[in-house]
C-alpha cells in the first residue's frame, strides 16, 4: 500500500503567489541583502569616529547624517540590520522548536504531560514577557547571544498552547481517526499526519514572531540593556536619538523607520503565507 502524507491544510487556490506574500518577501529580501552585504554597501566604517563631524544632518557624504561621535549613521544602520535579523530569526527559531515540541507532546499524549506543560504555560504567560526578559538580561551580560536565547526561552508558551490546540482538533479529525483504526503507531501518526498539518500554522506564527522579536530586541537596546555600543543596533541609535532629540531628528527617524519596515516585511510574509495556503473568504 503506497502512502502519502495527508496535507489537509494545504488547499491553495492555484495561485503560486499573492501580492501580500510577494511584497513581504521583497521587503525581507531587501533587509537580508543589507545585512549580508553591509560591509560592501556601507560608504564608511560604522565604528569610525570623527569628532569633528558630530551630529551632522543628512548630506551627500553622509546620507543619513552622523551620530554623537561622528560615526556615519547609514553604515551603522546597515550593520544593525544584520544584528536585528539574526536575533529575530534565531530567537524565534528557538521558541518555535521548544513550543512546537511541547505543544505536540501535550496535545498528542494528553494526561500528565499535558497537565504539566499547560500549567507551565499558564504560569509563564502570567508574566509580562518583557519584564521577564528585562529581569534576566539585567543579571547577565547584555550581548547578542544572551538576548537571542532569552527571547527564545520566553516566547515559546504562546506557541505551545496554539500548537496543542491544533493537535487536539487534528486528533479528532476523520483522517487521523481512520489512520488510528488502520493500526498506525504513534510515531507514524505524529510525523506523517499531524506534523505536516501543524507545520503550516507554525510557519505563519514564525514569520509573525520574527517581527515581534525584532521589536523586542530594539526595545531592549533602546533601554540600554540590549546590544551595547559601539556595536550598532537600531535600538541603540534611537537611544542616542532620545538624548539629542532637539538637535538631531535623523537619529530618531531613520532607525524607527527601519524597524517599522522590517516588522512589516515579516508580518506581510506571514500573512501572505496564510492567505496562500487557506481558501480566501467569500464576500
Amino acid at each position: 500500500m503506497s502512502y502519502t502524507a495527508t496535507w489537509t491544510r494545504v488547499s491553495g487556490t492555484g495561485e503560486t503567489m499573492n501580492r501580500t506574500l510577494a511584497a513581504g518577501l521583497a521587503i525581507c529580501a531587501l533587509f537580508a541583502v543589507c545585512a549580508v552585504f553591509a560591509g560592501r554597501l556601507s560608504p564608511h566604517d560604522p565604528l569610525a569616529q570623527n569628532l569633528a563631524a558630530r551630529l551632522q544632518p543628512p548630506s551627500a557624504v553622509h546620507p543619513m547624517g552622523t551620530d554623537e561621535l561622528g560615526r556615519d549613521v547609514l553604515s551603522r544602520m546597515l550593520h544593525a540590520a544584520g544584528v536585528s535579523l539574526t536575533v529575530g530569526l534565531v530567537s524565534v527559531g528557538i521558541a518555535t522548536v521548544i513550543g512546537t515540541t511541547l505543544g505536540l507532546i501535550a496535545g498528542f499524549y494528553g494526561g500528565l504531560p499535558d497537565t504539566l506543560i499547560m500549567r507551565a504555560v499558564d504560569i509563564m504567560l502570567c508574566f509580562p514577557v518583557f519584564f521577564l526578559i528585562l529581569m534576566v538580561v539585567a543579571f547577565l551580560k547584555p550581548n547578542v547571544f544572551n538576548i537571542m536565547v532569552i527571547i527564545g526561552l520566553t516566547s515559546w508558551p504562546g506557541l505551545a498552547r496554539y500548537v496543542r490546540g491544533e493537535v487536539l482538533s487534528l486528533r479528532e479529525s476523520e483522517f487521523v481517526r481512520s489512520a488510528v483504526m488502520a493500526g498506525f503507531g504513534a510515531g507514524r501518526l505524529l510525523f506523517v499526519h499531524i506534523l505536516p498539518n501543524v507545520l503550516v500554522p507554525v510557519v505563519v506564527t514564525f514569520s509573525l514572531g520574527v517581527g515581534g522579536a525584532i521589536l523586542t530586541e530594539s526595545a531592549l537596546s533602546f533601554l540600554g540593556l540590549g546590544v551595547q555600543p559601539p556595536q550598532p543596533s537600531w535600538g541603540n541609535i534611537l537611544l542616542a536619538g532620545k538624548e539629542y532629540i532637539h538637535m538631531a531628528w535623523w537619529l530618531s527617524v531613520f532607525p524607527g523607520l527601519a524597524i517599522f519596515f522590517a516588522v512589516i516585511g515579516f508580518t506581510l510574509s506571514g500573512e501572505g503565507i496564510r492567505q496562500w495556503l487557506n481558501p480566501r473568504e467569500r464576500g
Binding site: D122, M124, F139, A219
Partner: protein, 322 residues
C-alpha cells in the same frame, strides 16, 4: 456555574506557587544573582558583608531560601529594598495606583476603539472601510511603541506644546483649582495611555472583525433578519453581543502585554508608576524590590485573567445555566 468557579479557583493556587518559583529562580540562579551583591559593595567591610549575607539568608541552601521566600511572599512581605532600606511593599504600594490608572484607562481605550473598529470592519466586510482598518491594524502592530512615543513627544510636546511629556502632575499641581488638577492629570495621561493602547487595539480590532464576520454568517442572524429586524439591531443586538463574550477573555489575556508595555512607556515618559520603579530596581540590582515587583505584576495578571474567566462564565448562558 459553581463548578466552573471552583475549577477556576482551584487552578489559582498552583499557578501562584509557580509564579513565586519562577521569580525566585530567575533572580537567584542566574549568573548575576545575589552573589553579586558582595561585589557591588566593594567598600563595605567583610563583617558587614557577612551580616548582610546572613540577613538575607544568602548562605543557606537554595531550597531553604525558596521556602522562606515563599512563606513571606504569601504575606506579601518582600523584605526591604537594598537601595534605601524602605519596605518593598510600601514602595510598590506607593507607585501601584499610578500604574493601575494607566493600565485601566488603556484597557478601556483598547476595548472601545478596538470593538468599534472591528464592528465597522465586519459591517463593511471586504469594502474600503474594512481594508482601511485592516491596514491600520497592520501598521499599529509594526510600529515600535517607544519610537512612536518619541515622535509624538516631539510633535505634541515640543513643537506644538499641547501636552506635557513627563510625569503625572505638573510641578505647581497643589496650587491649582480642583478642576484644573483633574485636567492636568488628564493631560499628562493622554500620550502614555494612547501609545500603550496602540498594539492592543490593533489585536482586538482584528479579533472582533473575524469573530463578527463568523457571527454575521450564522443562521440566527439570517433568522433575525427574516423576522424583519433592522441591520443595526442585528449587528449590535445579536452579532456583537455574541462576540463580546470571548472579547472579555481576550482583554484579560492582553493584560500581560499591557503591564509589560507599561514598563517602557513609564520610563520614556518619566511616569511615576510601578514600571519605572521596576526598571530602576533592575538597573540598581535591587533584588528584593525586583522580586516583589515581578511577583506583584504576575499576580495582577493572574487576577485579571481570573476576573475575565469568571465574567465569561457569567456572560455566556451556556455555562451559567448548566
Amino acid at each position: 456555574m459553581l463548578r466552573f468557579l471552583t475549577q477556576r479557583t482551584a487552578v489559582l493556587i498552583p499557578t501562584f506557587i509557580g509564579i513565586t518559583l519562577v521569580t525566585f529562580l530567575v533572580v537567584n540562579l542566574s549568573p548575576g544573582g545575589p552573589q553579586v551583591v558582595q561585589d557591588l559593595n566593594v567598600r563595605v567591610s567583610s563583617e558587614t558583608r557577612e551580616r548582610l549575607v546572613r540577613l538575607y539568608g544568602l548562605d543557606r541552601p537554595v531550597h531553604q531560601r525558596y521556602l522562606s521566600w515563599l512563606r513571606r511572599a504569601v504575606l506579601l512581605d518582600f523584605g526591604t529594598s537594598f537601595k534605601d532600606g524602605k519596605p518593598v511593599m510600601a514602595k510598590i504600594a506607593e507607585r501601584l495606583p499610578a500604574t493601575l490608572l494607566l493600565n485601566i484607562l488603556s484597557l478601556g481605550l483598547v476595548f472601545v476603539v478596538g470593538c468599534l473598529a472591528g464592528i465597522i470592519a465586519a459591517a463593511y466586510r471586504n469594502r474600503w472601510p474594512d481594508r482601511l482598518i485592516d491596514a491600520g491594524v497592520f501598521l499599529g502592530y509594526a510600529v515600535p511603541k517607544y519610537w512612536l512615543a518619541l515622535l509624538m513627544m516631539i510633535l505634541f510636546g515640543i513643537k506644538l506644546g499641547w501636552l506635557p511629556i513627563s510625569g503625572l502632575r505638573s510641578i505647581n499641581w497643589e496650587y491649582l483649582s480642583p478642576w484644573r488638577q483633574v485636567t492636568d492629570i488628564a493631560a499628562h495621561l493622554v500620550l502614555p495611555v494612547v501609545i500603550l493602547s496602540i498594539g492592543g487595539f490593533a489585536g482586538l480590532a482584528r479579533y472582533v472583525r473575524g469573530r463578527m464576520g463568523e457571527e454575521l454568517d450564522s443562521d440566527y442572524v439570517r433568522g433575525a433578519l427574516a423576522q424583519g429586524a433592522s441591520e443595526n439591531a442585528v449587528l449590535f443586538g445579536h452579532a456583537f453581543r455574541n462576540t463580546l463574550i470571548p472579547v472579555v477573555t481576550i482583554l484579560g489575556l492582553s493584560l500581560p502585554e499591557l503591564i509589560g508595555g507599561a514598563f517602557i512607556i513609564e520610563t520614556i515618559f518619566s511616569y511615576p508608576g510601578m514600571g519605572r520603579l521596576g526598571f530602576d530596581a533592575i538597573m540598581a540590582r535591587d533584588y528584593p524590590l525586583i522580586m516583589g515587583i515581578g511577583t506583584i505584576t504576575a499576580l495582577l495578571t493572574l487576577a485579571g485573567n481570573f476576573i475575565a474567566d469568571v465574567l465569561y462564565g457569567y456572560l455566556d448562558p451556556r455555562i451559567r445555566y448548566r
